[in-house]
């Protein structure tokens, strides 16, 4: 039990990557707050996870400072503090080649992915730094290292998270708090099924063509899985993770060789 007694908040944790991380953390002994916009999906997730008082759902949208503040405060109210923050919520809509891109799409992608990470991190640090212990794990993407055409809003937002992470790690390095990124390859999660077709269209591909492209770039010639991301999140959240910070860990089957 590597996370016995720890308290974690996973934004966007009802499905996909966040859900797998939440389940892994509960399995290692942590109490976990999951979050999502839909109370109905939250109730469904709690039922499926069947972890009693070890898991709690907070409905809310990370797309505002107040929303992020409420999530961190709600976690502290429920379990007394926050030890582990997983900035997992994110996505993008309104994909288009840069020449045609509309402002709202870029703004929305930055708020959803990057600003939410900044806001939640700031509120979590205010609880972690005085206690000199914390783990912040930002779910970036292989597109935080690479760039694909037609999805610049997502690529830009994920790169921004990586830069933020590196700088923040240097600020807090001696205070027992680490901050890292995980950069997963494509995973066929619910949100990929929801948003993938529009992204593919902006890239001039079919949805299946998009998935095939990601798989063909990887050494393993397949997509990744949520469990592969969760095992890395567990390592980074653990006591032994204290010596790893400011790093972009690839979980991409050998796509980004750096």
């Amino acid at each position: 039990m590597e996370l016995q007694g720890k308290v974690a908040l996973v934004t966007g944790g009802t499905r996909g990557i966040g859900r797998a991380i939440a389940e892994a953390f509960v399995g290692e002994g942590a109490s976990v707050v999951i979050n999502g916009r839909s109370a109905e999906k939250g109730a469904q997730a709690l039922k499926e996870m069947n972890a009693g008082d070890k898991v709690h759902f907070l409905s809310g949208d990370v797309k505002s400072r107040e929303g992020c503040e409420a999530l961190v405060k709600g976690t502290i109210e429920r379990y007394g503090r926050i030890d582990i923050l997983v900035n997992n919520a994110g996505g993008a809509t309104g994909h288009a080649p840069v020449v045609d891109l509309e402002d709202w799409a870029m703004q929305d992608a930055l708020v959803w992915n990057f600003w939410s990470t900044f806001w939640c991190t700031q509120y979590a640090l205010r609880d972690m730094l005085p206690r000199q212990w914390g783990r912040i794990i930002n779910i970036s993407s292989v597109e935080g290292k690479h760039g694909k055409p037609g999805v610049s809003i997502y690529v830009t937002a994920k790169h921004a998270i990586n830069g933020f992470t590196k700088s923040c790690a240097q600020e807090i390095g001696t205070q027992g708090v680490t901050i890292n990124c995980i950069c997963p390859g494509a995973i066929e999660t619910d949100i990929m099924r929801d948003e993938g077709p529009a992204a593919a269209q902006s890239m001039g591909l079919t949805y299946q063509g998009l998935l095939d492209w990601f798989a063909s770039e990887a050494a393993i010639k397949r997509l990744n899985t949520v469990e592969e991301v969760a095992v890395v999140a567990t390592l980074l959240a653990s006591e032994a993770g204290g010596g790893m910070t400011g790093t972009m860990y690839s979980v991409d089957g050998g796509t980004a060789a750096y």
């Binding site: 390095g173 010639k221 592969e228 567990t234 910070t245 400011g246």
Partner: protein, 260 residues
């Protein structure tokens, strides 16, 4: 239930320091482990300290010789029936000198210890793993695999080179159920650093041994050295079944020294 139940690991240079930390962590997670070193007495001592028993064995041999890399694989398969996890961990700074003063012989020793040993062990292990369509190769590189410090050109070059080898091998075997990764630890005050550090310090531009340790600590965001336990935890993760989608990576365990 351990994360490595039923698995068999071989670790070059596993009697002390990082390799020893990996061995102990793998044992805790249910694996059988073969460790290696030059000195049979130290090997026997290490087995005793790790509690002995039927899950651990020692293979004597100098990692700078191909016969050791080949031999530990054969020995492991003979002893435990298979090899699932190959940790190519042995290595170090044999000679410190600036490039313009380094001899061919000194250079060759660095290459044999840090690069050729990894190639030999990887080739031998892959020939066993590929027919079984399962395996984990974990190479111990270093922050010096991405950065460079003065006075250790052979070490920096060979630790960079193993990353190229690792990346290419990951692509070779990517669809065969085998992953190939490297861990890049920051400086850890292991036995080998205590032995070779005082001499390295001067060549690397530090005033003394303590200055060398301080130089590495200052480069890290955490302003301290790393620990073998931190490296071992990463090795367990990479060796686990859940890590099947992680390959070709340069896994930093360096407290924020490398910003990439």
């Amino acid at each position: 239930m351990g994360k490595l139940d039923g698995k068999v690991a071989a670790i070059t240079g596993g009697t002390r320091s990082i390799g020893r930390g990996m061995a102990e962590a793998f044992l805790r997670e249910g694996a059988k482990v073969v460790v290696n070193g030059r000195d049979a007495a130290k090997g026997a001592q290490a087995l005793k300290e790790m509690g002995g028993g039927p899950s651990i064995a020692f293979f004597a041999g100098d990692a700078r010789a191909q016969s050791t890399a080949d031999g530990i694989v054969d020995f492991t398969i003979e002893k435990f029936g298979q090899l699932d996890i190959m940790c190519l961990n042995s290595g170090g700074v044999q000679n410190t000198a600036p490039v313009h003063l380094m001899t061919n012989e000194e250079w060759q020793l660095e290459m044999d210890w840090n690069l050729n040993s990894v190639f030999w062990g990887m080739r031998k292990a892959l020939n066993h793993m590929i027919p079984r369509q399962t395996g984990r190769i974990i190479v111990t590189s270093s922050v010096e695999g991405k950065l460079g410090k003065p006075g250790i050109p052979g070490y920096a070059a060979s630790k960079h080179a193993v990353l190229g080898l690792m990346k290419a091998a990951a692509k070779d075997v990517g669809t065969l159920g085998i992953t190939v990764n490297a861990i890049l630890p920051g400086l850890i005050e292991t036995d080998i650093v205590r032995e070779t550090g005082p001499e390295s310090a001067k060549a690397m531009g530090a005033e003394n041994y303590e200055g060398l340790l301080e130089m590495f600590a200052q480069e890290a965001a955490i302003k301290r050295l790393n620990t073998v336990e931190e490296v071992a935890a990463a090795a367990v993760m990479l060796a686990s079944a859940a890590a099947s989608g992680i390959t070709g990576t340069s896994w930093a365990v360096d407290g924020g020294t490398l910003p990439y």
